[in-house]
Symmetry: C2
Subunit: 345 residues, 2 copies
């Protein structure tokens, strides 16, 4: 099978290299092909998602992404919108047809002290956020900035709602059987459709799953005040962007958070942390999230659960034995990666 790697910007190349080393160890038959994305691709090709990268995806079985984007004051941020690094990321998601973004939020036993929450609240948290990734206000073509007015449109159709809700129900069946669908149906028509369609799908096809509906503002509170109440959360693109980043702080380091984006074609796997330009190139970035994304690639992208478990266990061991600086430890990228490699061997 072929894995296309897109290292991207900032610490992306370093953490992706670490993840590839681990993949080579547990799945020696994989072939890798590296391509450009984001700011790096803009520098090389004048396009954050160049044709050569797009073409390469045709033959990919899975895609491993690093991170995309420059520092706040980067000249990239003043480019026309379609040339900015983020546009490359959005175009990539669209090209792959990845409509369901899965973000597991798990507090590892023994690492509760890293959480900004009190340990008794952080302990045992195990949430899966399923974010719709190709619709809503991110992609709708009805958008404009002109003179002193601007607007964007948050639009959903029933098929868009159903395909991502299916992923959430399916995931809940493998977990604790509970889905919370998040919307703002007390204010928005688009949320009314979302709520109606998610409920109808549950009543038609997933009667064994327990479904409830909550408002996005309330979930933003409760995910902090009482995170253990959630099993699977499913929501639209913009709410999912906010809530999944919010939930990601619970384990205490973004350096621990992987993600998988699934759809009709090859899956896209990426750490959720940013490109961290301030520490790029120093060899000190925590590659755990990239390596855990590689584990999700093995599980969801290539259907290799045994190898996926092997990697996840190895990361858990390495985190205890050789924590990186963001975790209050001393390990650099190499040391941590070697600890993972030793543990999988």
């Amino acid at each position: 099978p072929k894995v296309v790697t897109l290292p991207g910007d900032g610490i992306g190349p370093e953490v992706t290299a670490a993840a590839v080393e681990v993949l080579r160890e547990v799945a020696p038959d994989l072939k890798f092909e590296e391509h450009a994305i984001g700011g790096a691709a803009y520098e090389q090709y004048g396009d954050p998602f160049p044709q050569v990268t797009r073409d390469a995806l045709q033959h990919a079985d899975a895609v491993l992404l690093g991170t995309v984007g420059g520092p706040q004051n980067s000249p990239w941020n003043s480019l026309p919108r379609h040339l900015r690094p983020e546009s490359g990321l959005l175009a990539l998601r669209k090209a792959l047809g990845c409509y369901a973004n899965l973000r597991p939020v798990r507090v590892q036993p023994g690492l509760e002290h890293l959480s900004p929450l009190k340990p008794e609240l952080a302990r045992g948290v195990d949430i899966l956020i399923v974010r719709e990734l190709l619709g809503g206000i991110y992609f709708d073509g009805d958008r404009q900035i002109e003179g002193d007015t601007a607007y964007n449109t948050m639009r959903y159709t029933t098929p868009e709602v159903e395909r991502v809700a299916k992923v959430a129900f399916w995931a809940a069946e493998q977990r604790r059987g509970r889905v919370t669908s998040v919307d703002k149906a007390n204010v928005l028509e688009v949320s009314e459709l979302w709520r109606r369609d998610v409920q109808a799908l549950r009543d038609r096809e997933y009667r064994n799953v327990h479904l409830n509906h909550e408002y996005v503002d309330s979930v933003a509170m409760l995910i902090v005040a009482n995170p253990s109440r959630y099993d699977v959360i499913v929501t639209e693109n913009l709410f999912g962007d906010i809530l999944s980043d919010l939930a990601a702080v619970i384990p205490g380091s973004l350096g621990l958070m992987p993600s998988a984006s699934l759809g009709d074609g090859p899956g896209l796997f990426e750490p959720i942390h940013g490109s961290a330009p301030d520490i790029a190139g120093q060899g000190i970035a925590n590659p755990a999230a990239a390596i855990m994304s590689a584990a999700m690639l093995l599980r969801h992208g290539l259907d290799r659960p045994v190898a996926a478990n092997q990697v996840e266990r190895a990361v858990a061991l390495a985190l205890r034995a050789h924590p990186t600086r963001d975790l209050g430890g001393k390990a650099d990228t190499r040391t941590f990666t070697h600890a993972v490699l030793d543990a999988v061997a």
Copy 2:
């Protein structure tokens, strides 16, 4: 001066009555006039914002609101959208022209232990969130649900952005002089306008205020991971709904959180907690947020800072001496209110 009170639903009447008692004590010249809003108004008049209430606002100097809305399974939630309790609230905001919602988030010294965050993160937090309250996706008329599609429009104009940004800059000048404007300008055109206009206003008229811009997903993280980095946050309606509720959990009880909504006419003052139908009518609701909202009414609505300070100090004392159940104490609504009355006397 005349204060119109709108007790509303659930615990609204109980906590509003407590706040009125306190107002009578510190400002004996105030006149009060009570009217219906929300589900209660729907029951009485078939309209969540009836004409008689609307008329009464003409002669109000300030409006004290309780809480609005029924339980999850309330029949009110299946009414046509314009008859639901929330529509009454939105119509009220619009009728009063309250475009700036001020939500102070302050962790009281000695009450850090109530926070879901580690005490060292909660200590000293003092944020003011300024939420745009009359624009964006909440009110835009371009909205529809029809068959298997639905949409809403997030629209802003420069004058709408500027008037609320002014409130944020003005508030920052009384505080620590820093404003963080929150948007999603890497994806949304409407955020591009927002960011541009907030920055231009700062550069034109508020050069003494330090302004930075952050993405909404990042703020959702950082407000939990490092809340002390924020002074004033200004943002559009939907982001403000989510972030202000999120920030409200930091002090540990929604029962402590007041709000003020300001605009061209009389201000609207309300606790941010919901109507808590499960404990309504039992006399155990925590009236602190309603009483603190009354303090904001004195300060911002009637320009009586001395009386406002008096009430705020009294609430702080009462919270220590007679905490209510939501704070792990035993005081009921009466006991707590009497403690406040004693302390102001």
